[in-house]
Symmetry: none
Subunit: 87 residues, 4 copies
């Protein structure tokens, strides 16, 4: 224990403040999101269904990405060494 810790004090403070700043921005955006849902609801849209739609679209995209990488894994497994006894 000694000097280095003290030296880090300023760095530490900067880091923490940067994190806090970005977290503040995130929570503001989250708030904005909530307002969009509220507004939609007041226009007669069911928030639950809206969330479901958003969720599904996100998931579909993700699956597409995964299938791609999965394919890669399988191809490598076939070319490589999936099973030793079947070699």
């Amino acid at each position: 224990m000694g000097g280095p810790v003290d030296v880090s004090g300023d760095q530490l403070r900067t880091i923490v403040e940067r994190i806090e700043h970005v977290e503040k921005e995130i929570s503001e955006l989250t708030e904005g999101k909530r307002e969009i849902y509220q507004e939609a609801k007041s226009n007669g849209f069911d928030p639950k269904v809206l969330r479901e739609i958003v969720r599904l679209r996100k998931q579909d995209q993700k699956e597409r990405d995964e299938h791609e990488s999965l394919l890669e894994v399988y191809l490598r497994a076939i070319n490589g060494a999936c099973v030793s006894k079947a070699a």
Copy 2:
């Protein structure tokens, strides 16, 4: 300080021990799972591919379930009040 506290004390102890017991069982099973993977690997199976397979099967099942409940949501939305202006 008197009886009631002691009664709660016993109950509390029982509860905590039950939880700890089930957690112990879980960690033992987790250990067993790890061993299965190890064994499979020593038999020449690529653990990564195995995990991918397990994961996919789980996901497929999940999706099936979700689609079901999703369908329900949509049907209710149609019968109910998804949009007021389009009514």
Copy 3:
């Protein structure tokens, strides 16, 4: 089937896109946050401790706010509910 449905369809699409947009912004900021932690770590800071600090400071701030508003309530009660800032 006719106009009203299309109108709702457009509204719906707009809503969904707005939500997706704000979610994209959020995930970008989250990414930025991750990078800050990474950078800090590479400078020798323990991320876990950093997170703990951020968490504690948030909590302290919250308590401070609560305390402040409580104080305000008390002061207003004393003054007879006419002062806004305890001036």
Copy 4:
């Protein structure tokens, strides 16, 4: 194409099923755990406190002390930030 592949296929299927079985058991135990907490709650125990107790009992005393002192050092560094290179 012939025997060996089929043999591997059977092995593979067996492995996957064994894994899925143990995972099923795990999730059932997890469910049981949840029920214990529910039951405790309905008997007037605060789940949060229960979890804390379990957590504390699990946690190694020594590690806790180390973590605590490290945190303290950091907090002092942030409040202080006084020295530049050697205390």
